[in-house]
């Protein structure tokens, strides 16, 4: 497609290409953890990367920034598309070497925080558990993942 039709400067296209090559796969994997429908998750990937590239300096963005932006955007998109889960937790059975290391409770806490951006106080209410216990489970789940990497 020509640049005139696209209305994007050459430099920006290069930045988008870099962002795409670096993070598109990771982001799609992250979105699939929240949105089970494949077609919809791809639509959200397009929407999130485009919005992120237009709002930020995409060339110097870190994965943490992009993931946190995606978390906020996914909540917004779910709200716009009336995909309310009424505070329920997604049961994501995505096969993953690291997630398989976690026990049931740790996995629930980690996925709720990682994919659904549930705060520890929200989770404590939802699961009827102590916030400090959940904090400990989150920490132990991250430690397990890091240990598997050798850190």
């Amino acid at each position: 497609m020509s640049e005139v039709v696209l209305n994007i400067p050459h430099g920006s296209r290069k930045d988008i290409r870099l962002l795409y090559d670096k993070y598109a796969g990771m982001l799609l994997g992250f979105i699939r953890g929240t949105v089970q429908d494949h077609k919809r998750s791809e639509e959200y990937l397009v929407k999130i990367i485009s919005a992120f590239a237009s709002e930020t300096k995409s060339s110097s963005a870190s994965w943490l920034e992009l993931r946190q932006y995606a978390q906020r955007k996914l909540i917004e998109l779910a709200h716009i598309n009336h995909e309310h889960n009424n505070g329920k937790l997604n049961n994501n059975e995505q096969a993953n070497n690291y997630l398989n290391l976690l026990d049931h409770d740790e996995r629930i806490v980690f996925q709720a925080v990682y994919y659904q951006k549930k705060s520890l106080s929200q989770l404590a209410d939802l699961l009827n558990r102590n916030e400090n216990t959940l904090r400990g489970q989150l920490k132990s789940s991250i430690d397990k993942i890091r240990k598997a990497r050798g850190n």
Binding site: L6, I8, R17, M26, A53, N96, I142, I145, R146
Partner: protein, 153 residues
């Protein structure tokens, strides 16, 4: 650190992390390591996007830019009309009640020429009037002379 990296830290926790990051290089290093580990986790869970996604992203971004440009244009138009309103507020239209008029300076030569020509025509009129009166008097005298000669004969 964990809640910060997971994006669920409270405002206080965020401030605390940023402060510790500034004060202690070891803390900053540990945080960077944790971020990197989370990135590796995401890489492990990555799903390769199907072909055509990049062109869709470029198309979507192009549409966003177009929307932004048209919004900027709308803003400019609003600003222009606002400025017009301000100008209208600053200058009040007033109907003049003065009995004087202002005309271009070139008109004074025209008025001078008309004045001089008027004087010349007036001079001619007086001259011809006097000439005419004199001629009438001469005619009258000649008529009287003729009548007088006729009566002598």
């Amino acid at each position: 650190m964990e809640t910060y990296v997971m994006g669920i830290a409270t405002d206080d926790e965020v401030q605390q992390v940023l402060l510790l990051k500034k004060q202690y290089p070891e803390f900053e290093e540990a945080l960077t390591k944790l971020e990197l580990d989370m990135e590796v986790l995401a890489q492990n869970m990555a799903v390769p996007p199907p072909p055509g996604i990049l062109s869709k992203i470029e198309k979507e971004l192009s549409e966003i830019k177009l929307r932004e440009q048209s919004l900027e244009k709308l803003d400019d138009t609003d600003k222009d009309s606002e400025q017009d309103h301000v100008k209208q507020d600053r200058y009040i239209e007033v109907e003049s009640e003065s009995s004087h008029i202002r005309i271009h300076k070139a008109w004074r030569w025209v008025f001078a020429a008309v004045f001089v020509l008027g004087k010349i025509f007036l001079g001619f009129a007086i001259y011809f009037y006097l000439e005419n009166r004199q001629a009438q008097e001469q005619i009258k005298e000649l008529k009287t002379e003729i009548n007088h000669m006729k009566s002598i004969k």
